[in-house]
Assembly symmetry: D2
Homo-oligomer: 330 residues x 4
């Protein structure tokens, strides 16, 4: 398998999905060893670095990419299999950002209240124990939390000529911020433009479901992934497969619409995989789905609809590409 | 430990939280062995029983109760520990109901479209294998799904003199429809009226998170629970504890408000359990919470914010009552 | 025409829709001369009376009623025609209430921010000029605003045995808080229980659309209304007719659902008045409706869908009862 | 005053805000006489032209522009004063589009129901009587409705390098679909990129508030406007001034967030115009605002917060540019 290594220079980082020239061309079936900058572009390095002084919103989530996938045409299915996600720094950072996050008013959920105070937390990575250290600032509480690396942003260039901020998740993927996007997952995205122009970034050393304060344990990441292409119709919403689950990620506002979009897509997927009509697939989904939140903080919110493989008869999705890719580098 | 057995006559069922006279008085520390009718009041017994002919909406979710808890006063904490939930019939039922459910327009999310077709599914209970059988109607697909009994409705009389339909979840509990309400869980509810007047019902033999079509595998249930009372301030929103998690269940519309309400309550709970200030508790929650949906189909939607005990230092909530009750009958 | 006068003693005020015994029985065709207390139960009388010290939330919006309408049966249409609304005090009051209102976080749209500061404004009524005086507190700005009396709450006992706080609008009417509920308007409500059990209250000397801060210029009101009854099917949502408009008031969350509910009901109303099929009524509504917000602050939000009579051919709604009642006392 | 005339060739139409090269450069203080294509790109010309066969969603709302305004820099205020809007065709069109509109499920508010039937309505323009003719298709009802020309889309290139579909309203303006955007109005927009790159389109011969079915009486339009520039800080959300009102247009989901965003901006505007502190401005707004819906059908919803000038002391906004421009061509 071909292997492409790429670490972007700061000036090569992309801040949007769409609208940026490709940094490299890759053939389907290539493995990529990438470095991704953290969501803050590395600007929060100590607890005295506060967001309002250090960040230039909405310029966060710098992307590694985009990559031009040879042969990818609108309507195709792009498959990205994540082989390995490893912290690329010895610390991660999280912060409250004025009027950003889930438990504060924002520029849309606007109120007249003062913003929450700003605070930055630095999490030391303990490689041996595979933990990150939370250290309270208002007391001496501390706790080591398991390292669970994931990527907040994975996406392609949007349809219809749009260019979207890397803060936004939508049908093209983007800032979905779900802990499901970890090593072992294969993400399926519909190609909207020639070459697909996918990019990845926004590594999290760990994240709760919902990403309550708007920032995870943000950290630079070493990413190994395999890119592949299927000439079959791409999904409406980003889909995800790992050894245990099939999943769809819907992104919208209000939150129930993010859920509805992903659920309807899963009804269609179950229907086609198992030959179920719409009502039977709806009924089956009602009794088997697991539905963790991804984020309730970005410009669109994201909800994951998961179906556990263990509950249903074995089935092959997308020509079995997940099964192939999961062992391709081993 | 005192044990009270109670199986309601059909005329004794309650259809609201608040507004019904108590069926029994119980002392804190009593075990109750109850029978609960299913959400459809037993009226869907074959695939030819359709909802529009058999149901009289919103008269669903008949309650076993209310029970008057001696000594319970407004502001107290009622604790209900679920010891055992066992199917009381050999079959469960699920159905699409016109303009009810998550992937259809409703009386609020109103559109001009025709309703989805009605269909009723009957799930046979296989006691030996502890499964329920899904049988597609548009094809010959069938699958046995694990039996995972839970209660859709658990609640007390509301505050401020309100009487609420058993279809609605809110601060008083009610129709939260979360799979977390299973044997092994202790539910904490704030008492709003003298005697608390709690009731339970709406047994589900299993349910996916979100309860997509609006109905789980609905079934009559044998319920063993222990009721207890703490003279400490009750929680704003229903809380839940089991051996693995602390949880809060927020219910509101839109779905993000259900999430916000439960999250803020959890920030407060974590803060008081671990001596964290508001920002530190917010930050910690952001990295550790698990947030499954409960329902996106009832008059209010419900979201569960869970904190895994394994990630945090040991702590005792509500005077350790969960630990006491979980072994009280063994 | 019979005339009933009624001024409730403080102990006779009702705080819910449903759940209170009738204060009087009236025959259809009776005029009522009523006095209503203000939303704060008269407790905010100077700028030093602050909400948190003076109010006991949610005990606001005390109701004058309920009235038992003889002959009213579930499913009927109750018609309430407002003849005259006159301030019953020389001052009105408005206030910011902690975590209540549209531009603050609330108990549902919960955040971790501090509440807005509390402030109470007193508006002097200038009877000669028919104005109320706004006086800024942070500067010496002042302005006289036109007196435009209206009622915030008009409703009947809810269906299905529910009892609802007088803070909540829903299908039964209640706290809709729309400036359209003024003298000259006829409100149509579906009867849910024998006798209908309607009540009115929450007088506003004026209110902007949306009631942004959660409180209008709240004031005690002298109300003259005529009650009538039609043995025709009552509307799903409260409807309103005046000389210029037909209107439907939908109440729900999120705000788009309040809009959808009222719009669908108006499509049905236009369809039946003009013999239009569903699509034609939808199209016509799309080009003629006026849609002011009512409130975005209560437990449900309310939106008014209005159709201007001047744009459409003359038509008679509800047997022409509005035209009869509007001149019945002149 | 300089006058620029411009009628785009079909290939010159723009389909996005941002991302298109300017068609002309203009100096501040220039009058433009423009022709705009209708939202359907002229493809619906008879009742037998149905949307699914004739439209290529989301390629609607073709724009006339963008225009590069000389001297415009990020942060400035662009002022567009609409002098005259005149139908450029003798007919307008409206249609139901599958899964698009307010009273149907959509790609976000997704359900499993079938779409509403498609139908196209053609409205003949009666220039003498200044009406457009509605003709029902399911019956012989017909009615002439007043011609009230307006523009659905007015906007500039977005911030942060984004390119957005002309279907979307947001901070940059865009598809706000409010009847307030008519002759006599001055629209204020914050400049995000050098030259501002504004465009206009989506003429409506009339539209109800909310644009229920998703399409107004869509028609090609002759537009006369004056463009001007102020080197003062541009507004967060699009603002609008006419002889009777000051207004802010917020766009977001859910609908209450569109309202909140515009309301907070209006609190700030009132505060700065009248020297009111935040709480006084909030209180005053609560009693004087008029809040019609604009649209509940686009990718974001839009709500207009209006303050009637007649209620408040005279004041000059944006250096009185509205007063100057409204008579500049007379």
């Amino acid at each position: 398998m071909d292997l492409l290594e790429f670490t972007p220079e700061p000036a090569e980082l992309a801040w949007t999905f769409g609208g940026a020239p490709p940094v490299r061309r890759v053939k389907p079936g290539t493995a990529l060893r990438l470095w991704t900058e953290d969501a803050f572009a590395g600007s929060l390095r100590s607890t005295t670095d506060l967001a309002s002084a250090s960040l230039n919103m909405p310029f966060v989530n710098p992307q590694t990419g985009p990559f031009y996938v040879e042969g990818a045409e609108p309507g195709d299915t792009l498959a990205l299999h994540f082989v390995e996600l490893t912290p690329a720094r010895s610390w991660g950072a999280s912060a409250t950002i004025p009027f950003f996050g889930g438990l504060t008013s924002t520029d849309r959920t606007a109120t007249l209240q003062d913003p929450l105070p700003e605070r930055t937390w630095i999490y030391e990575v303990d490689t041996a124990n595979r933990t990150v250290g939370f250290q309270a600032q208002g007391s001496d509480f501390e706790v080591a939390l398991p390292l669970e690396p994931m990527l907040g942003t994975v996406g392609v260039a949007p349809a219809a000529g749009e260019v979207r901020s890397a803060l936004v998740p939508d049908m093209f993927g983007g800032n979905m911020d779900t802990p499901e996007m970890r090593a072992g997952a294969t993400c399926y995205l519909r190609v909207n433009v020639e070459g697909a122009l996918f990019s990845v970034g926004d590594g999290h050393y760990r994240q709760g479901e919902g990403e309550s304060c708007g920032t995870a344990v943000e950290g630079a990441m070493n990413v190994v992934l395999i890119v592949d292409l299927l000439k079959t119709p791409g999904p409406v919403w980003p889909r995800l497969e790992n050894d245990e689950y099939l999943a769809v990620i819907g992104s919208a506002r209000p939150l129930e619409d993010a859920w509805r979009a992903g659920q309807v897509d899963m009804v269609n997927w179950l229907g086609s995989l198992y030959g179920l009509d719409k009502l039977d697939a709806y009924q089956l989904l009602s009794q088997v789905s697991e539905v963790p939140l991804a984020n309730v903080v970005d410009a669109n919110y994201s909800v994951v609809t998961k179906v556990p493989k263990r509950l249903l008869p074995p089935v092959t999705a997308y020509d079995g590409i997940h099964q192939q890719l999961r062992t391709a580098l081993s």
